[in-house]
């Protein structure tokens, strides 16, 4: 019960930032985003879109509960497609999160790995 209330409160807080983002997008123009036509069925894409509006708030709140900085949680959510958001929202508790601190290495490794992959560190030079 308490957990759920906590989640709601955080959802409300995060809505402030997300809602303003939504307005900014809508105000940009009356053009339709590519996601609407990219699905095999447009109907499915539209339904997904509606779900994703809900999902983006839910996922952001869930990430915050999991210790992610609220601003960054919103940023992370904003970088996902509708389909990814919907899946994350449904499965966030069950989804694998690689390289746990206890199990193998941890944060330093994940950070290094992304730095390498995005070319900040030359991955082949280190071999």
């Amino acid at each position: 019960m308490r957990g759920k209330f906590g989640l709601r409160a955080i959802t409300a807080l995060i809505c402030l930032s997300l809602c303003s983002m939504g307005f900014a997008q809508a105000a940009q123009a009356g053009v339709i985003g590519t996601h609407a036509i990219a699905g095999a069925e447009q109907r499915a894409a539209q339904v997904e879109r509606l779900q994703s509006l809900v999902a983006s708030e839910d996922v952001t709140a869930k990430l915050v509960v999991l210790g992610v900085d609220p601003e960054w949680a919103a940023q992370r959510v904003a970088s996902l497609t509708d389909a990814e958001l919907a899946r994350l929202n449904a499965e966030i508790e069950q989804m694998p999160a690689g390289a746990g601190v206890v199990t193998i290495v941890g944060i330093t490794f994940i950070v290094l790995l992304i730095l390498e992959l995005t070319g900040v560190i030359d991955i082949f030079k280190k071999i």
């Binding site: 053009v31 944060i107 994940i110 992304i114 070319g119």
Partner: protein
């Protein structure tokens, strides 16, 4: 392979981007997001060793998820595949603190199987995978659009069009990327080509009408949008947007369209969607 935004990142910032304390790890979508925010393409590979080998041969390192524990008690682990040798049946990984971990291919395959064979190759936005699969590539580029990286998205959609000149999703996406970059002429060219290929799709006509309106072609735009609206019912997905476009255009001052306002199908367009 230096990313446009990637050069100034600090480990602290990156940790905030990808690390989830409550899970003591990183979620797959958060890794995809971190790659996209640097303007790079995160392409999820088909789940085969052949696909991995082909990308490695092209010099592209691959991010993989492994499960090093039993199925019942998973130990999730990210690693980067940097080599695959078919003759010795070994896979080389950057894994944890190991700069060069050799693993028998069979053992690697077991750990990769238990993680649903998740693999991502990181590419520059103007690059494409060695053996591109259309829907996978669409998903990768849609990710750039979602992350708000229109410059990269525009390059990536153009690369898709280079492979499949009549790719409707890419033409539509190229229009959106150019439009958000303040290139209405380029957006019009891409959308006009999309509409030519998909004359019955109200989404394409809506976007074309919006940009034609921006370019001063109010009458032509209004004609297109009204014709489309007439064919729709309020229950259709595109209805609210097209209705909005019609009313926006109606509120613009009427007058004669300039000479460059030519209907779709009569304009000269090349393969890139440029007029």
């Amino acid at each position: 392979m230096l990313g446009p935004a990637g050069s100034r990142v600090t480990p602290d910032v990156l940790a905030s981007e990808v690390y989830t304390p409550g899970l003591k790890g990183s979620l797959q979508p958060d890794l995809l997001g971190a790659i996209r925010r640097r303007g790079l393409l995160a392409y999820e590979l088909p789940p085969t060793l052949e696909a991995l080998s082909a990308e490695l041969a092209a010099g592209h390192p691959i991010l993989v998820l492994q499960n090093l524990g039993p199925v019942s008690r998973p130990v999730w682990h990210y690693a980067v595949v940097i080599g695959a040798d078919a003759s010795t049946e070994t896979i080389t990984l950057r894994s944890g603190r190991e700069a060069r971990l050799q693993m028998p291919t069979r053992k690697f395959m077991r750990s990769w199987d238990k993680a649903d064979r998740w693999a991502v190759v990181v590419l520059r936005p103007d690059e494409v995978p060695v053996d591109p699969r259309r829907e996978r590539l669409h998903r990768a580029v849609l990710g750039l659009e979602a992350a708000g990286r229109p410059v990269a998205a525009s390059q990536a959609w153009s690369a898709v069009i280079n492979i499949w000149p009549d790719d409707s999703v890419a033409l539509f996406g190229l229009g959106n990327a150019r439009y958000s970059l303040g290139d209405p002429v380029g957006a019009r060219a891409a959308w006009a080509r999309y509409v030519k290929l998909n004359p019955g799709d109200p989404s394409g006509i809506n976007n074309l009408a919006v940009v034609l309106g921006d370019l001063g072609c109010r009458n032509l735009a209004l004609q297109l949008a009204r014709e489309t609206l007439d064919k729709l019912t309020p229950g259709d997905d595109a209805y609210p947007q097209v209705l909005d476009t019609v009313s926006t255009l109606e509120s613009q001052p009427a007058g004669r369209d300039p000479g460059h306002c030519i209907p779709v199908g009569t304009a000269n367009q090349d393969q890139s969607g440029r007029p």
